[in-house]
Structure formats: C-alpha cells, structure tokens
C-alpha cells in the first residue's frame, strides 16, 4: 500500500511502553506510542495503515473502552491486546469485539511480534478490500439511473426481453444499456458483472435464494 504501516502502542506504563517500542523498533517496525487511550483517539488518523497494541487495563479509558470507541467511530484498525491479568471474561469480550490477539504478560517477544505481523497483514488485506470496493462503487456511481436499473435486472439473470418488458422499452434499447453497463463496470463477461454486483451488495448470491 501507499504508506509504511505503523504500530501504535497504547500503554499507561512508561517502562512497559518504552520496552515495547524498543522491541518493535529492533525488528524495523515503525512505532508510535501513547500514554493513554484518550491521547490515542485524539490524534488517530484512520487513513494511516497499521495496527494497535493496547494494554487492557489503564486508568481512565481502558483498553476495552477504546476498542468500543473505535468501533463506534467506524475504525477497523486491528488490535493486539496485552494484559497482565488475562482473565477469561475480559479476553472473551476483547475477541468478540474483534481483537486480533490477546496476549498475557509476561510473553515471549516472538509471540508479540508474530501477533503484530498478523495484525498488520490483516489491516493491509482489509484496506485492499476497502480500496477495491471503493473502486467498484466508483464505477457504479458513473452509471445513469436507467443503466443502474438494467444492471440490477441483468445480474438477477433476467433476459433482455424480460427487462425491456419490465422497463417498458425496446429490447434494442436494453441491449445498448447493457453494453454500456459492461463497459463502465469494466466487466468482460456476465459472470464478472455478477461478482461486481455481489461485492457492492446489488444482488445476493444465488444459493441463498433457494
């Protein structure tokens, strides 16, 4: 992707935070540290790729509170939780909230680095998906209202004749719209077009409608 991913470390314990930063840097990772959840929220720019390494228990906003807050704001940054307590209900709550990993102190350095790598990969993947989706939505955006209607009916498996009938127009006109849809959506086949439609939620996969 465009920018180098960053590991955002949020821990209220100065010395643990410095140690984590040192470890991440020692393997060449980009690191930024924050002493509290609020501090992180205030400065976080969701367009920056990376992952979050987060202490569960902190005074004020806890790690779990931060996870919820990020979710509310629609941020999907992957989170690796670190905890000194490691109690089960807490880890369940964190994982249900979408955490990538939940690591108990003390931990093996490689365990943490692997978790960070995993989280970074997940972030990259979801950003790729987001980008692809954005691209398709952009194409849909360029369709005229009539072309969109034709698009929706085509991917549902309707024949030109049926579409013409439904829209109260000629089969010939439908053919022209259909060609434009294929062109604007950059689809090479009907199958392509159906996949694109599915990606943006225009039609549900067939299996589900039986």
């Amino acid at each position: 992707m465009n920018a180098q991913p960053t590991v955002f470390i949020v821990d209220d314990d100065d010395s643990v935070r410095r140690a984590l930063q040192r470890l991440a840097r020692s393997v060449g990772l980009n690191v930024e540290t924050f002493g509290g959840a609020q501090e992180f929220i205030n400065s976080y720019d969701s367009s920056r790729p990376g992952c979050l390494v987060l202490d569960v228990r902190m005074p004020g906003l806890s790690g779990l509170d931060l996870q919820e807050e990020l979710k509310l704001r629609g941020f999907t940054i992957p989170i690796v939780f670190i905890t000194g307590h490691g109690d089960v209900p807490m880890s369940v709550r964190a994982m249900k909230g979408g955490a990538v990993d939940f690591i108990s102190k003390p931990f093996n350095d490689q365990t943490l680095l692997d978790a960070i790598q995993h989280a970074q990969a997940k972030d990259q993947e979801s950003r790729k998906e987001q980008a692809a989706l954005g691209d398709i939505l952009g194409r849909v955006d360029r369709l005229t209202p009539r072309e969109r209607e034709v698009f929706a009916l085509v991917v549902c498996g309707k024949l030109n004749k049926q579409i013409a009938h439904q829209l109260g127009t000629s089969e010939k006109t439908v053919k022209v719209h259909r060609a434009r849809v294929m062109q604007k959506m950059k689809a090479e086949s009907l199958a392509d077009l159906v996949l694109l439609a599915q990606a943006v939620g225009l039609c549900k996969p067939k299996v589900q409608s039986e």
């Binding site: 010395s15 470890l23 020692s26 228990r57 902190m58 005074p59 004020g60 102190k105 003390p106």
Partner: protein
Amino acid sequence: MKNRRRVRKTPSAGPTIESNRGDRGPTHPALREVQMELPADALADRLPEQATPHDRERAEVELRRLTAIVRNVTDAVIIQTFDGGILAWNRGAELMYGYAEEEAVGMNIRDIIPPRVHQKAAALSDRIASGEAVGSFETRRLTKDGRTINVWVTATTLTDASGRPEAIATTERDITQLKEAEETIRVQQSEIAHFGRVHAMGEFAAALAHELNQPLCAIGVNARAAQRMIDAEEPLDELQDALGDILQDVERAGRVVQGIRDQLQKCEPEFSTLNINAVVGGIAPIAEALGRNDNTGIRFILGDGLGPVQGDRIQLQQVLLNLIRNGVEAMPDTEPDLRILIVETTKSNGDEVQVCVRDHGQGLRDSVAERMFEPFFSTKQDGMGMGLAICSSIIQAHGGRLWATQNADAGCTVQFSLPCYPEANVP
C-alpha cells in the same frame, strides 16, 4: 543520719505539710508510723498564744485523723533527707517494698532504687532541694525480694518554719500491674494491626502480582530487544538505554516487594520522627497497583514545609493503604475520566499535618457515616469491617484524629491529622 537528727532536734521543725504535723504525745501513737518524732511542743508552736484547751483538742483530733490516713493508706509514704536518708516509712511502704519500718528507717532511698536509675534520682533530689516543684513522675523501685516494680511517685518538699527546704516527702503507688495491663493491650493492638495488614495484603494479592508483572514484563522485553540489537549490531548507546531501563525496572520491582514485606512483617510498633510525605511516598507503588487494578488513577499532592510527626511508619502506611483501597473501591460507577483518587498532605492548625484521601464515588450515606469507624461494620459484601476500626485505633495511638467528610461535588474525603513535633522537642 545527720539530717534525721536535725529534724528531730530542731524545735521548729514541724513540716508544713499537714500529714506530718503533730507531736509525739501518747495520744498520737500513729505518728510513730511515719517516724516523725517531733518535739512535744510542736503543736503548741503552731497554736496561737491565746488558744483555748478547746482549740487544742480540735487541733489534736485533726492531727489524729491525718496521721491515721498516712498510716493506713496503701500507697507508700516515705520521708527522706536530701541525701536519701529514710526518715519515715509507713505501712504501705512496708507492704510495697518488703522492708519493715525498723529496717527501712536508717536505710538510704538508693537501696530501693535500681542502680540504673540512681543518677536520675539524685538529680531529681537536687531539683527538689532547690525548691523546684517536680510534681509526679513514673520510675522504678527495687523490692526487698529483688523484684523491680513500676511506681508512680508524687514528691513534695517539706520546709521548716522559716520556709527552708528540709526534706522530701513522697507518696509512691505500685503501678506494675497497670503497666503490665497496658503492655498487654499494646501488644494486642499491635497484633490486631499486623493481622489487618496481612489480611489486606491477601486482598491486594492480585493487584500486587500485576504490579510486579509490569516491571518483569518490561525487563523481559527489553532484554530481548537488547539481544536483537546486538545481533543487528546497533549502536551501543541504544543498548545502554535498554540496560538502563532494565535496571530501573529491577529497582521498581524491588520497591514493590519492599512495600509488601514492610506490611507483612510482624514487628513492635516503633515510633520515630517521620516526614509524612516520605511515609506517603513509600506506599506509592502499592497504591498505584490498587488504582490500576480498578482503572483508577492515584494523584499525590504533597504539601511543602510540613513539620515532622512522631509515629510508626508501617502502621501509618497501613492506614493510608486502607483509606486508598476504600477510595478506589468507592468508584466503580464513576465516569472513567473522573475515576481519580487524590492523596494530599497539608498543614493544618499550624502544628498539625493532615492527610486527605479524596474519592469521586457515591459519597457517604448518613447511616454509613455514623458507623463507619465501628468494628465489624462494613458496606462491602465480603468485608470484615475491621479496616477503619483498626485505622482509627492506630491514629488515636498516634495522638491524631481520623474522620470522614462529604465532598461538595461528589464522593467523600477520609482524612487524618497528626500532631507535629519540632525536631528539638520530640518527646
């Protein structure tokens, strides 16, 4: 025994304290009990020339009563010269010290004073001789059978008719049993306090384990990072930093362990001159652990220029930890960013220091405020109700006061005050 003779022979030697006024006539056999062998005309000296036989009789009755009191009182009544020569010795003294009157009169008071106290006793005797009022004091005495007993002594100077100090009269009460009872209570209180500390440390165990885990974790991570730096041949100063951090965390863990050991150790309370801010600082690692365990920040606001206090460091820290724990536990429903406990030291009333623990919780209900310092009263599900009761008795033993007030905004403040002692005046 020169002095004794002097007292006997001086015609006007009638001591001015009433218990010793009298003559030696057959009507006053009681006088022999106190060996005040006064001239027969002693009483006449005291009476106006025109005294009628009736006046004289009244005076004699009064004298009889007084001598009976001296004779029969259970306290020892002793009259001694400034050199310590014993002149008079009552029945109370016989019972208390084991010497019969015949033995005692003629002995020196040093014979019933433990050698270690001799010098102090001589100095005191000099002060009395110079006419200084020494009042009452506690000291030790030796009995005939070799026991050392604690006595409470009230000393009075006897003067002759011209007002010249002449002898010392003391009443002495055996307070050995009282002292033993006090000691038993003191030991019990110390044991209860110790029990309270051990109990609290048990409750703090999870938080403390976490607090130790933090530096251990940082040490481990730093060590691993250092290894990687060596492998990657990174600059030595980076490595130096990592090692510096490791050492800091070793110290940090050490402080937590020391704090725990202090609280767990069973020791006699030891009063010393303390800086209250240092006492508060000593429990910071444990306090912060308790705070972190409940997502609560602890803020210390330490006042300047606070006078020294007298106390047992560990017990005062025990009180603080108790108050801090209560404060932290009072805030489960408080907004996360308001969940802060303030520990503040201030000067109050000029000669006191005050330590306040201010929470931002639900505050005190009146029904709780009334009873919170009572033993076995608790608002906690599994609370034993001894925490604040122990705190209260510890602060009282320090001559201080422990109380709670409702905050104007939210929560409550539990605070204690301790008297300050200027360094030179420490008792």
